[in-house]
Symmetry: C2
Subunit: 202 residues, 2 copies
């Protein structure tokens, strides 16, 4: 039996709060945001972006969980990022160049996002240059996270990376399939299973 979760039409308040924490917004700016961002529900396993398509929306996750991944030449899936409540996700390479993406973004659970289209974001930058700064800061934060992730991937073994994952996404470990976590950590599900087992028996 399928449930019919309704999209909360007031979900933009969450986004406005988010922006306001970074920089106070005027009422006009708030209205601009409300008019440009559209709520949308994705069901589990639906795609926000499929490889080969151009990524032309920028997504703010209101509730649920998304994963962004690529599939390499040998067919292995690598999850770059999970996005849960209050996170941003998009393939910025494709979004800003408007060229086809090599990445997929998929709903791991039923997920509500607020989306802004590429052209609307450019328009937002023009109408309210404050958003140039807000999005600069957003991207800076993503970059910092990505750098940490790279360092961890290079420097730590799988056990430590798993502990870090648990710290970074404390709510996620029991919510999503093991295979996704393994693919995020860059190991096989079998090996993750072994690690988990070791942890419990200690």
């Amino acid at each position: 039996m399928e449930k019919k979760p309704k999209i909360d039409q007031t979900s933009t308040t969450l986004l406005l709060e988010y922006f306001s924490k970074m920089m106070p917004l005027t009422d006009e700016e708030k209205e601009l945001v409300a008019s440009k961002f559209q709520p949308r529900l994705y069901r589990k396993r639906q795609f926000i972006l499929q490889e080969g398509d151009v990524c032309n929306v920028f997504n703010f996750v209101v509730s649920g969980c998304l994963r962004m991944y690529n599939i390499d030449e040998s067919g292995t899936t690598h999850i770059i990022q999970f996005a849960i409540e209050n996170w941003w996700i998009s393939d910025k390479g494709s979004f800003y160049s408007q060229k086809p993406s090599a990445l997929n973004i998929e709903a791991v659970e039923d997920t509500t996002v607020l989306q802004i289209k590429h052209d609307d974001l450019l328009d937002l930058y023009v109408k309210a240059p404050k958003f140039d700064r807000i999005f600069r800061v957003l991207v800076e934060n993503s970059l910092i996270k990505m750098q940490e992730r790279l360092l961890q991937n290079m420097g730590s073994d799988a056990r430590i990376r798993y502990e870090e994952f648990l710290k970074q996404y404390p709510t996620l470990a029991n919510r999503i399939p093991n295979t996704h976590i393994a693919s995020f950590l860059g190991i096989t599900p079998e090996f993750l299973s072994k690690i988990r087992n070791e942890r419990v028996s200690k």
Copy 2:
């Protein structure tokens, strides 16, 4: 015998060219840039940033080569990024939070950079909001590169990663020590030596 390379006082023209390609600048903006960015020469092995210090400059490389790296708990060095001519480098995490960095930035060769101080950059954003956008785009580009690097690190074996390194830094392979390349690729110098040997004998 030490050489005394002079810093080219006209080096800001290179930076102005760089900015102008992204967005046309007015004469006032150009002057602002010229006044805010200071040229500085670092000798081979000098540090632009040492772990524990706050990163309070943003660097544009005019000539030479820098490496940014961290040292993990077990004492292994991991190079996150090389920066050669026309690249930007800084620890953005430390720079924007003004907290001590865990990273080092070191000159691999005698290197000339143009530096802007943290407060001057903020001031530049205020005086010429255009730079909010310019730096947003810069950071976006860094993020895209970092993402590609993460994917390669997760998805490809060392041989393929080495080929990619050669493509991305074609001039670097013969300029810098093998140990640095290995540390960038996330392998030991011994193993890199083996890979190189295989390539030649094929």
